[in-house]
C-alpha cells in the first residue's frame, strides 16, 4: 500500500472544518514557509520535488514558477485551475469538497512563494456547491489569521477568492480561464506573451491545477527531496487517479506513481477488476483526449514490459503503441463497448466545446462528429474511415490552443487500434445501427 500524501485524513469526520484540519497537522506548511523560508527557498523545494503539473500537461511546476516575471511595482497573481472538465476526471471535485483546507493551505504557501497578494480559485460553474464549501473554509482561514493582512505576523498579506465559471470545457485552458476570469468569453489567447509575463489583468500570473497546489503542502512539510523519493524516475510523488467506466470499484485512488496498470485495474486494493465478470477491451488512461489503447497495449508495452502508472511508461511507444498519463482520468471499457460509438461521443463533446475561434477546430470537430455519427448509425462508407483520420490530422497543430489536439488524438488512436470495428460498421450497416450493437469479433492487433 503506497503512501497517501494528500488524502491520508480525507475520511476523518469534520476534516472540512478548520479546527479538525488543524488538529491533523493542517497549515503546518504555511507556518514553516512564512516563518523559516524565503519565497525563493519555497520555489527551490518545489523544483527539487520534481512535481509535474497534475492537470494533464505534466509540465514541472517548479520550473513554471521560476518563469514568473517580477517587474517592480506590478502585482502578480496565482490562479488555481479548478475548472475540472476533462471527461473521465473527477479528482479535484473530490479533493476540494472533502479537503477544502488542503487547497487553501496550498494556495497560501504557493502564493507566498510567488509573491502574490491576491489569488483566485477559478472553479467550474457546475461546482457551485463546492464553491460554497471553499468559501466557508476561506472564511475560517481569515478568522484564524491564515489569510488577510500580516499572516502569522510575517508581514505577508494574502487575499484569496473563489470565482465560478459558467459552463465551458475550454476554460480549463489557462489563457481561456484568464479571459473568463476577466468576465469575457473563454477564447484562448495567442501565445506569446505567456501568462507568466502577461496573465490576469495583463499582470504576471501562474495558473496551476488543484492537485498540483495541494501537493505543495506535503512537499514543504517533508522537503522536496523526500517527496522525490516516492515514485519512479521523473514521475515523482503521488497522483490522484479518477477511475471510472466498467470497473468494479470506480472512484478516486491516490497512488504512488509506478503502480503497474494491471495491478491498478485488477487488485482489490484499487479498482477490483472489470464489472459483471467481463473482459477488458480498452482503456483511456488520462482523460478523454489521450489515445485509447486496447487491453493488450495498456497492460504491457509493445516491447512486452509491464506498463506502469507513470508519465514515462504510459507514453512508451509514443502515439503508435502508447498513450499519456494526462489528468489521470482512467476510463475502462469492457468487451461490450462499441468503440465507434464511444469515439463519436467524444467527438460530439469536442465539437460542443470548441470555442469557435480557429477554423480547423471549429469546422474540423464538426466534421468529425458528423462523419462518426453516420458511421455509428449505419450510413458510413469505407472512405469515411480515412476521412476522419485526415480531418483529425488537419486540426492537429493548426490551432491556438490544445483543444484541437484533444479532439484529434482520440479519433486517430481509435482508428489506429480498432479499424476493424469501424470497417464492421460499414460492412454490417444494419446490424451496427441497432442500439447497443457491438462488433462481435475479438480485437485484431495491428
Amino acid at each position: 500500500m503506497g503512501r497517501k500524501l494528500l488524502t491520508e485524513h480525507i475520511n476523518v469526520p469534520g476534516i472540512d472544518t478548520f479546527e479538525v484540519y488543524r488538529q491533523h497537522g493542517g497549515y503546518r506548511s504555511v507556518e514553516k514557509a512564512l516563518k523559516t523560508m524565503t519565497p525563493d527557498e519555497v520555489v527551490e523545494e518545489v523544483k527539487k520535488s520534481g512535481l509535474r503539473g497534475r492537470g494533464g500537461a505534466g509540465f514541472p511546476t517548479g520550473m513554471k514558477w521560476s518563469f514568473l516575471a517580477k517587474p517592480e511595482g506590478v502585482p502578480r497573481h496565482l490562479v488555481c485551475n479548478a475548472d475540472e472538465s476533462e471527461p473521465g476526471t473527477f479528482k479535484d471535485r473530490h479533493l476540494m469538497s472533502r479537503l477544502p483546507h488542503l487547497l487553501i493551505e496550498g494556495m497560501i504557501t504557493s502564493s507566498y512563494a510567488l509573491g502574490a497578494n491576491t489569488s483566485y480559485i477559478y472553479i467550474r460553474g457546475e461546482l457551485l456547491y463546492v464553491l460554497r464549501i471553499l468559501e466557508k473554509a476561506i472564511a475560517e482561514a481569515y478568522a484564524n489569521g491564515f489569510l488577510g493582512k500580516n499572516i502569522l505576523g510575517s508581514g505577508y498579506d494574502l487575499d484569496l477568492h473563489v470565482h465560478p465559471g459558467g459552463g465551458a470545457y475550454i476554460c480549463g485552458e489557462e489563457t481561456a480561464l484568464l479571459e473568463s476570469l476577466e468576465g469575457k468569453r473563454g477564447n484562448p489567447r495567442n501565445k506569446p506573451p505567456f501568462p507568466a509575463v502577461q496573465g490576469l489583468y495583463a499582470r504576471p500570473t501562474v495558473v496551476n491545477n488543484v492537485e498540483s497546489i495541494a501537493a505543495v503542502v506535503p512537499i514543504i512539510n517533508e522537503g522536496g527531496d523526500e517527496y522525490a523519493k516516492l515514485g519512479v524516475g521523473k514521475s515523482t510523488g503521488t497522483k490522484l487517479i479518477s477511475a471510472c467506466g466498467h470497473l468494479n470499484k470506480p472512484g478516486i485512488y491516490e497512488i504512488e506513481l509506478g503502480v503497474p496498470v494491471e495491478e491498478f485495474i485488477y487488485s482489490d486494493e484499487y479498482c477490483g477488476g472489470i464489472w459483471k465478470g467481463r473482459d477488458l477491451k480498452a482503456v483511456v488512461a488520462g482523460g478523454s483526449s489521450v489515445p485509447i489503447l486496447p487491453k493488450e497495449l495498456i497492460l504491457k508495452t509493445a516491447a512486452g514490459e509491464s506498463r506502469l502508472m507513470t508519465y514515462e511508461s504510459l507514453s512508451d511507444g509514443g502515439f503508435v503503441t502508447g498513450t499519456m498519463l494526462g489528468s489521470g482520468g482512467f476510463i475502462a471499457m469492457d468487451e461490450t463497448t462499441c468503440i465507434v460509438r464511444n469515439t463519436w461521443n467524444f467527438s460530439r463533446f469536442y465539437h460542443h466545446e470548441s470555442c469557435g475561434q480557429c477554423s480547423p477546430c471549429r469546422e474540423g470537430t464538426g466534421w468529425l462528429e458528423k462523419v462518426l455519427h453516420r458511421l455509428e448509425h449505419g450510413h458510413g462508407n469505407m472512405h469515411d474511415i480515412d476521412l476522419i483520420v485526415s480531418v483529425a490530422k488537419q486540426i492537429e497543430g493548426n490551432t491556438i490552443c490544445p483543444l484541437g489536439e484533444a479532439a484529434a488524438w482520440p479519433v486517430a488512436a481509435a482508428v489506429r487500434h480498432f479499424r476493424h470495428e469501424f470497417e464492421w460498421h460499414v460492412t454490417h450497416r444494419e446490424e451496427a445501427a441497432r442500439p447497443g450493437a457491438v462488433y462481435p469479433g475479438k480485437a485484431v492487433l495491428v
Binding site: 473527477f90 460553474g125 456547491y129 468559501e135 459552463g167 476577466e182 468569453r185 470506480p250
Partner: protein, 188 residues
C-alpha cells in the same frame, strides 16, 4: 393587444445586492467586469432559472457594462438558460463515462416519465430536460445536476424515482447561503 403599462423592470433583491457588493470587493476597482459570471449565476437564481434580455440588461447596468458585453458572454457559457425553463432543470450528463454506465437509458427514461424531450419542458411545467457535457462525477455515473445539487448513480428506477419525488415535493428551491444571510438580517 398592446399593453398599456410598461413592463416592470427587474430588480435584484436586497440579499442579492448585498452579495453583489461582497463579490465586487474580490476584483480591482477598474476590473468590475470580472464579476460578470458570478452575477449571471445570481441573476439566474433570482429570476426563475433563466436570464431574460431584461435581466441581462440589469446585470450590465449593475456592472457598468454595455448590454452586448453581457449577451456575448451569456450565450457562450452553457449554464445560462436564455429561454424560460420549468421549475426544475434536469441537466443530464451525456459524455463518454456516463454513457458507459447508462446515460442513454437514463435520458430515455426521463423523457418517458416527464413527457418532455431533451430541450423541452414537461406539460405540467415541472421539469425541463437538458443534456450537458461531463460534470466531473464519472465515478458515480450516470448523473443529473439540478441547480447546485448532484444526483449520482442514477442507474436504477428507484434512484430516478427518489430524485424526481424529491423535486416534485419541493415547494421552494433551497435557499442559497447569501439568501440565508439576507433572511437573518430581515429577521433581526
Amino acid at each position: 393587444m398592446e399593453s398599456t403599462t410598461a413592463p416592470v423592470k427587474p430588480q435584484f433583491s436586497e440579499a442579492a445586492k448585498a452579495e453583489i457588493a461582497r463579490l465586487l470587493t474580490h476584483y480591482p476597482d477598474d476590473r468590475k467586469k470580472s464579476a460578470l459570471l458570478p452575477l449571471l449565476h445570481i441573476a439566474q437564481a433570482e429570476f426563475g432559472g433563466w436570464v431574460s434580455p431584461e435581466v441581462q440588461d440589469l446585470v450590465a447596468e449593475t456592472l457598468g457594462l454595455k448590454p452586448i458585453e453581457v449577451y456575448e458572454v451569456s450565450s457562450f457559457y452553457t449554464m445560462f438558460n436564455l429561454k424560460p425553463v420549468g421549475k426544475h432543470v434536469l441537466e443530464i450528463c451525456r459524455t463518454g463515462p456516463c454513457m458507459l454506465r447508462g446515460s442513454d437509458e437514463l435520458t430515455a427514461n426521463l423523457e418517458r416519465i416527464t413527457g418532455a424531450k431533451v430541450g423541452e419542458t414537461s406539460p405540467d411545467g415541472l421539469f425541463t430536460l437538458k443534456e450537458v457535457e461531463c460534470l466531473a462525477a464519472c465515478g458515480t455515473a450516470p448523473i443529473v445536476q439540478v441547480r447546485e445539487k448532484y444526483y449520482e448513480q442514477l442507474d436504477s428506477p428507484e434512484a430516478v424515482d427518489a430524485m424526481l419525488n424529491e423535486l416534485r415535493n419541493m415547494v421552494h428551491r433551497p435557499l442559497l447561503p447569501w439568501e440565508q444571510t439576507g433572511l437573518q438580517h430581515t429577521q433581526q
